[in-house]
Structure formats: structure tokens, C-alpha cells
Symmetry: C2
Subunit: 426 residues, 2 copies
């Protein structure tokens, strides 16, 4: 059995539904990057007997047990007592812990109630784990050669920092045979996960490389993990080629779909404006979620009602009457006009039936049209995803930005987005 | 010890970080409404020994153990084998399970691979739990008088339906002394959780009533839980009065902030248009997230650049030059002009410095101005929340809608939003 890390999470709020335990998932993700996996996660109540039983069960099968929570100043914070009891030692007041508490309150101009000093008590023989972001320090403790308990604050941002600064180095030092794996990322949009999987499987990925998939709806991310020294270039090139540039929008682990589009606009020195109907402002909101978006984005006309399409975007009323607001003709004019109105390089537009009402047999709920108008021409596309309102709107936002991305990248207008047809299989 | 429910969640994806276990939190929330709390949650790998040890540990301390996952057709789906082993019985093919599988595939026009029939195998002596939304049926099993295992699919929507339809009735029938608590909800916006807590504490809530708080950022929800038959009216009236209508935007458990605003608009037969700068379309996106929003919403001008503020919203260039785009004067004109332009009852507008760049000593990052223009007058307000970009934008969206809500409700323009000043304490 390989090196084994377990988590003992404590807190009423985890068992009565107020809080979701995200700390365990965080640790699991980091371990996974080291080629390790959590052994067990156990969530128990703030109860002496439950905590002690839980700690024993995990210490029996683990090299490191991380406890999350129960280090605060109140009577239901029991972790330090339980760990002491487990090792059969008492508590002492750690001077560095007391100093930290005094400074923490002084810095914030707040008076420290004496009850807070409980947080400076640590099991005799333990090593303090600093908590820069909160009050309660943590600690690590073990018997010679035995498994280690690392007790951390349960507050997620405190837990994460304490884990990264103090527990992760310990894991790296103790876990033999752990090789930090390197990664190549392919972030894709437009085809379903099952198809992405089949394409990657056809790439003869050698056994040294682990492939994992993450569905970050509606994106699918492919990660190739490989040990340092392995020549990944050929494999990566095959995957890149077979997936295709029309599907892979980024190979940067930190990139978002909108940042990939923003980077293309910045590179070309281009700007964009949007004309939105069923998305109601989501495309603009997505673009402007990024710092620096003012360099590429001028604005939007959200023409939720037809009168606004006519009055502000000058869509002729006879075209609205003959084709309907949800049509290739109307979105093309919307994209063209908003581009002229705002003086941008590109204009993109969306109009659709997001539902749950408003569908017809010809244009059922989930039908939407997208268009892009740019220096190399105008594209429009009809799409259908018969799903819930927020998903239809989310897809419409993605597809509109994807048309812009494809035009900016010199790619072709796709015939359709397979993800929209087969998403029900996901 | 009261009636005791534990969860055994299985799956590599929970331990390698790909998936967060949300099923446990769902069960915890439902149990909490019955006045029950989960006993333990244990997450283990798809491994025979781990599963069997985990099941034993939980059966020792629980009246019901719910297993989540491991019912699928592949070799790492071990739950049915482990439960059989635990009870010392074999497996049999359940005809209703086989029928379900055949119908499931036939309905979807898909061919069923024979390997799927593994999912119709159940422990001898168990009772099938139907899975209407997926392929694998679950089952429940116990020795006479002993604790019950309920094995459910791990797929969240399947798990939830199976839990509600089959496990919840069992819990209600077995757990003695469980009284389904009734609830009064107060959904608030504008003051921090600590202040909401102090106000409610001052309301002399009797011991029969449990108060709980949920921070649904940036909203704070207060729930009073009380047994059937308890006269809650006086208590609820005190809480309602002390919190105040300016802070409580809804008492409906299902209402969202935007649906509360939409209801007010519908009631008045009023419409609204938005003019957005730093929010980039978020206010429109929020309003139109609701079905039926076309009855109250006409559209938006997202004037991300100053030239659009001038050209489409006719903000005079000298006012932009003298006061700056982020000013009470500019947002007031934006709200007024978009109201005129779109012919709506109300116009709301936002302009601000969302950051991380663009701040000045006079208008630091996090400064934003909101305005509403309506039949009873024009309001504008300066706000400051020195936080991250997405939080600043989220606050600006909420505050702009809250000004509209207050004007629609005949309330006053607040001097400020305490939540913005003191959110750092959260």
C-alpha cells in the first residue's frame, strides 16, 4: 500500500447540512498532483468519544491524519484535547501561539477576551503549525516512527494555507517514491466528454502518461500527467492534432474560456461589442469578469424586447415580423449594427428561446441563433439544446464567444456544435 | 443517543479530488429539518477491504447506513458484493431490476450491453429501491431488529430522488420522537450576519424555537424552526419588525433576491431598463435569469467605455469630464436616460471601479455609484467595498436592484449599506 493520508473533519455544521466539506476535496486535488490519493475521509461530530474513535480508526491505516476544525476557543472545540488523550500527554501554553494571538488582535485594534488563550494550548511534545490567516494555531504530533497527526483550522482559507505551508512539505518529505507529475492541459469546448475521450484514446498514449478528464460544464478539460524526464512532446502533439484547434481553446491550466478570447483580441488589437437578447447581459458580464477587459470591450445593447431591437439596433420591423426575433437574419443584423454603433472590430449577437415558455414547433425551447460580424465577414448559426433555462443561456454565451474565437483564430464556422446535440448523454 | 443515520460514500473520484461529495450535505440538510443530524460520513475507496471495514464501523453506531455509489456495471462497483458479504448472503437477479434496465435502454433507443445486467443483481433478502432517473437500482437490507443498509446510486440527481422516495419514509417511520419542524424564513440583504444575529437575539425567541442562520453571500437567511402546534405568530412578528422591511426582502423559502424584485414589478405592472458600466451586463443577466422576465424587463445599455455613455446614453461630455464616469451625476443621468430610451417605468444604473486597477485616492478600487430613476423620483448612492473584482461587481448588482426594490416598496433611500462597511468582519 502506498503512502496513506486521511482526513478527520469535525464540526456540527458539516453534519447538519450548513456547510459542505471542501477542505477534503482541496487536499485530494493536491495529493492527486503528487500521484497520491486520499485514503479515507471521516466526518464526525464535536464529541469526545466520536473524535477519539475516529482518530484511532484513521491512525490505524494512515501515515498522516489531517484533522480539520475544532481548534477554536469554545467548549465544542475539542481537537487539542483529543489528540492529547490519544498520545497520553497533557497540554501546555505555547509562547509563540500566545504571541500570535496577542498580535492578531492588536493588529486589528480589537480587544482579546481571555477565553481566546485556550487556542495557544498545544499537546506536550507537538510542533506548532502557524496560522497566519486566523487566530488558532495548529500542530503536528507523532510517536517515533508512527503516523503523524496534523491538526489544522477548519476555516477553508486558513486550512488551505496551513496545509500548503506546513503539511505538504511533510508529505513530500515522508512519502517515498512520490514524483511530482508534470502536466499538459487541453481545455476544450464544443464536443461532449465521451467524444473527447474517444479521440484521446485513439492517440496511443503510452502507459507512463496518465490521462484524466474533468467536465467543467460546458468545458471538458483533458490532463496528461507524466513524470519529469519523460519526452511528452510527441504524445502532446498527437493529442493536440487529433482534438484540433477548433476544439482546444487553451493549453494554459489557468486560462478561462473568456481569457482565451480576450488574449486573442488583445493580440490582434481588436475590440468587440455585444447585442444580447435571451442571454440578457451574460455575454458582456462574462467578458468583463476579467481585469483589463476595457481594452477589448466597448459595451452591449441588451435588446430583451423587440421594440429595443428596432429602436436602438435598427432591426427593420418587417424583418422582425417576417423572420421573428429568433432568426439568423435578426442576429446577423444585431451583430452588424452593434459593431457599427459602438465602433468595434467585431460584433456578436444572440437571440433565442431560453424557456420554459415561448417555444413553438418550428422554434422549440432551447433554440438560439448566434452571429458574429467582423472584418473577415459575417457568420450566423442555428443551435438547439432542449434543456433548462440557465443551461440554454450558458450555452448561448459560450457559442457566441466561440464564434468570435474561431473568427479571430482564422478557423472555419462549424456546421454545428456536437455538444448541443449529445449533451444528454453526459 | 437519538436516531442515528450515517453515510458511506465510495468512489475514487471522491478521494482524488475530481468530485466533491454533495450527497452527504443534501442528506444532512433534510435530516436537519426533521431535527436529526448525521452521525458520521465516511468516504472510502472502491476497495473490498476498505468498504467492508467502513460498513462495519458505521453499522456499529448507526440505525441506518446509507451507501452512496458503487452500484454501476464496472469492476470497481463493489457495493452489492460488500453488503452481501456483510450479511453473509449471495446475490440474485431481481426481475424488476432487469425489467427496469431493459426498459431504460429501450426508451432511449439504445442497445444494452449484457454487462449492464450486473446492475440487476441484489443481495438475497434485500428490498429493491427503484432508480427512476438512472440504470442501477438500489436496495435496502437488514437483519431482524438490526440497523438497515440503504444502498443508493452515487450520481447526485439519482441519489437525491432515491433518498427522498425510499429512504426518507423509512427514517420517518423508524425514528421515534421525530417531529417535522415548521419554518419561518427571513431572507435579508444589506446588513452583516453578525448584526442580523444581534437583532434576532434581541427578539426574546423562546426555547421551543430554534434559530439558524445561513450566509448565502451576500444574503443572510434567518430560519425559525418550531414544532407544529407552537404559536409562532408573535415571535415571527417581533423578528419581522426588528429586522425591518428594508432588510427583509422575502419570507418565501423559494424566493431569490431577483424574484422578489420581479414580483414587486409585476404587482405594480411596472417595467425596468438598466444602464451598466462596471457590472458589464450582470444586472440584466440577473433579472433575466427568471422565467417571465420579459414582462418586466426591456433591456440594457452596457456602456463599458465612456464613448458609449456619451453616444448611446447621451451623458454630456462635460459632465463626464468634470465628475468622472464613476460619479453620482453620471449614474443618475444613465438611469434617467435608459428609462427614457427604453420607455420603462424605472431605470437603474451602475458605474464603479471594480479593480484590480483603475483606483485613485479619491475613488479607490471598490467604489461604485448606483442610481434609480422612477415615477417617485431619482436616487443615487455612493458605495465602497474594497474587495475582489467579482465581489465588487456582485455587490453593485445587488445594491442597484435593492434601490429599485426599496423604491417599489415605498421605503426610503438608505444612508449606506452596513454590509459594505463591515463585510471584512464576516
Amino acid at each position: 500500500m502506498s503512502f496513506s493520508v486521511s482526513i478527520l473533519a469535525t464540526g456540527s455544521e458539516l453534519l447538519d447540512g450548513r456547510v459542505v466539506d471542501t477542505n477534503s476535496n482541496y487536499v485530494a486535488q493536491i495529493l492527486s498532483e503528487l500521484g497520491l490519493k486520499l485514503r479515507r475521509v471521516l466526518v464526525v461530530d464535536d464529541d469526545e468519544s466520536e473524535l477519539l474513535i475516529g482518530l484511532r480508526q484513521l491512525m490505524d491505516v494512515s501515515d498522516i491524519v489531517i484533522t480539520s476544525g475544532g481548534l477554536g476557543p469554545t467548549t465544542d472545540d475539542l481537537t487539542r484535547d483529543i489528540v492529547s488523550k490519544f498520545f497520553g500527554v497533557g497540554l501546555y501554553e505555547e509562547p509563540a501561539g500566545r504571541r500570535h494571538l496577542e498580535e492578531f488582535y492588536a493588529k486589528r485594534g480589537r480587544l482579546m477576551d481571555e477565553s481566546n488563550l485556550k487556542q495557544a494550548l498545544l499537546p506536550v511534545g507537538s510542533t506548532m503549525i502557524p496560522n497566519e490567516l486566523g487566530t488558532a494555531p495548529g500542530f503536528s504530533m507523532s510517536n517515533a516512527g508512527g503516523p503523524v497527526v496534523c491538526s489544522l483550522s477548519g476555516v477553508p482559507r486558513e486550512f488551505k494555507k496551513m496545509f500548503n505551508d506546513s503539511v505538504l512539505p511533510l508529505i513530500k518529505a515522508r512519502a517515498t517514491g512520490v514524483t511530482e507529475l508534470r502536466r499538459v492541459n487541453f481545455k476544450t469546448f464544443g464536443v461532449p466528454e465521451s467524444v473527447v475521450g474517444k479521440i484521446v484514446q485513439s492517440c496511443d498514449v503510452p502507459s507512463e502518461v496518465t490521462v484524466s478528464y474533468r467536465a467543467a460544464f460546458p468545458e471538458v478539460h483533458v490532463v496528461l500527467k507524466y513524470p519529469a524526464g519523460f519526452a511528452i512532446e510527441d504524445v502532446a502533439a498527437r493529442v493536440r492534432k487529433n482534438l484540433g484547434l477548433d476544439v482546444v481553446f487553451s493549453e494554459d491550466a489557468k486560462a478561462s474560456f473568456s481569457s482565451a478570447v480576450q488574449d486573442l483580441l488583445l493580440k490582434e488589437g481588436a475590440t468587440v461589442a455585444t447585442a444580447e437578447s435571451c442571454t440578457g447581459g451574460m455575454i458582456g458580464a462574462t467578458i468583463t469578469s476579467l481585469p483589463g477587459s476595457s481594452a477589448v470591450y466597448k459595451g452591449s445593447v441588451v435588446s430583451y424586447s423587440n421594440s429595443i431591437k428596432e429602436r436602438i439596433l435598427s432591426v427593420p420591423s418587417d424583418i422582425l415580423a417576417s423572420h421573428g426575433a429568433v432568426s439568423a437574419e435578426v442576429v446577423t443584423i444585431m451583430a452588424r449594427r452593434v459593431r457599427e454603433l459602438m465602433g468595434t472590430t467585431y460584433g456578436i449577437a444572440v437571440s433565442g428561446v431560453a424557456g420554459p415558455d415561448g417555444g413553438t414547433s418550428e422554434k422549440p425551447v432551447g433554440t438560439f441563433f448566434v452571429a458574429v460580424s467582423g472584418p473577415t465577414g459575417e457568420w450566423s448559426l442555428r443551435c438547439l439544446y432542449p434543456g433548462e433555462r440557465h443551461i440554454v443561456r450558458n450555452y448561448a454565451t459560450y457559442v457566441s464567444l466561440d464564434l468570435l474565437r474561431r473568427q479571430l483564430s482564422g478557423l472555419q464556422l462549424p456546421e454545428s456544435y456536437p455538444i448541443l446535440a449529445s449533451v444528454r448523454d453526459l
